[in-house]
Amino acid sequence: MQQFANPARFLKIANVTLPYIWAITAILFAIGLYGALVITPPDYQQGETVRIMYVHVPAAWLGLFVYCLMGFFSAVAFVYRHPLADAAAKTAAPLGAVFCFLALVTGSFWGKPMWGTWWAWGDARLTSMFILLLFYLGYMAVWSSIDEPTRAAAIARIVALVGVLNVFVVKFSVNWWNSLHQGPSVIKMGGPAIDKSMLWALLTMAVAYTMLFLALHLVSMRSEIAARKLRQARLVEIGNR
């Protein structure tokens, strides 16, 4: 019964807080988008292209943050064997994958006018992000290919933990590899500090994205709990037959 106590409390908290989170998300997006598209000035070097930053950087931030969060939940699940932590890690993965994908696409839309190429292998961050997307896909594939939930959870935890460790090694290797094959005409982005007139909009967008993730994550965890209950109810039904 202890297993059910905590999801129940979680559901109660989630249902109470979700409307506020949605409201904050909507307000932040309204402010952030208005700031990003209307108020902030175009960059003196990059021109209007700099506005891609306001959707690219938050997506990249979430792509990384969600992965760390997934690793954290997996570690908690590994130590305490709590099913809610498994559900949290499982539901975070598809969300993180979408943000990771967005970071890649907007990054290459930014790269085309700035670097003159859709994909600069010379940029370590872009390459690491791509590998992060592969990890998300692998983690999701583990969940979908193992039928039995407790077994899938146990395997997924290990995959997530090994993946987090590997991300650091990959990041280090790609950086090193980059210094080896330094491209001739790669413009370093983010060299000079971002001006204050742009920073506030960027931060607002980053917080808006994070709140959006929080809301979506809470809803997906709620559906995950419902799906689990549904599965149990069906098993009982079959047993009673």
Binding site: L134, L137, A141, S145, I155, V159, V162, V169, F172
Partner: protein, 222 residues
Amino acid sequence: MFQQALALTTRDVALARRQGGGLGAAFGFILSVMVLIPLAIGPDQILLSKLAPGLMWLALLLSVLLTADRMFQQDFEDGSLDVMAMAKLPLEIVTLAKVLAHWFTVSLPLAIITPPLGLLMSIDVGQLPILLVSMVIGSLALSLLAAVGGAVTAGLRRGGLLVSLLVLPLYIPVLIFGVAASSANLSPSSSTPALTVLCAITLMSLVISPWACAAALKAYLR
């Protein structure tokens, strides 16, 4: 404990030898890749020798990957793994013993055979020793990481594709530093940094892989 682990390794080596193992197929795979690459790229000697180290590493890596999903599957299906898990030996040591057997029978022979095949791609003979050293060191890491994929999919019928999706990202650091070590200029000192990091990666996988494999296998055996 050491004796038991040794017995396990010899058992696996003997099994692989009697059954033919994956070595023959993996070797054939490398050979056909080596023939196909020049056909795909063209007979340009300079271009080929420039690409050779990277492509040879890729061939080695993929051929080891092909054997990954069978690593624990057979023992899991016929129940030997249950017996091994019930023995006094910790499952981590069991997996380590099995990985070593895999290294002896698949990865190590491939790592020794592959460098001479580079001559097909007009590689410089002076480059062979460093290629051999880096491949021998890296192949242990390849076996260890393949084991993680094999253990995670031990109980799955069609784990092959999942294994490659999971293991290929793990192989990226090995690939980067392996190629860097073996394609560094002919002076031995220029490849030392990359070779050192390659050793570090191998040692790190030596620590993490048995733990991860044992944890995954426990989930299947429960």
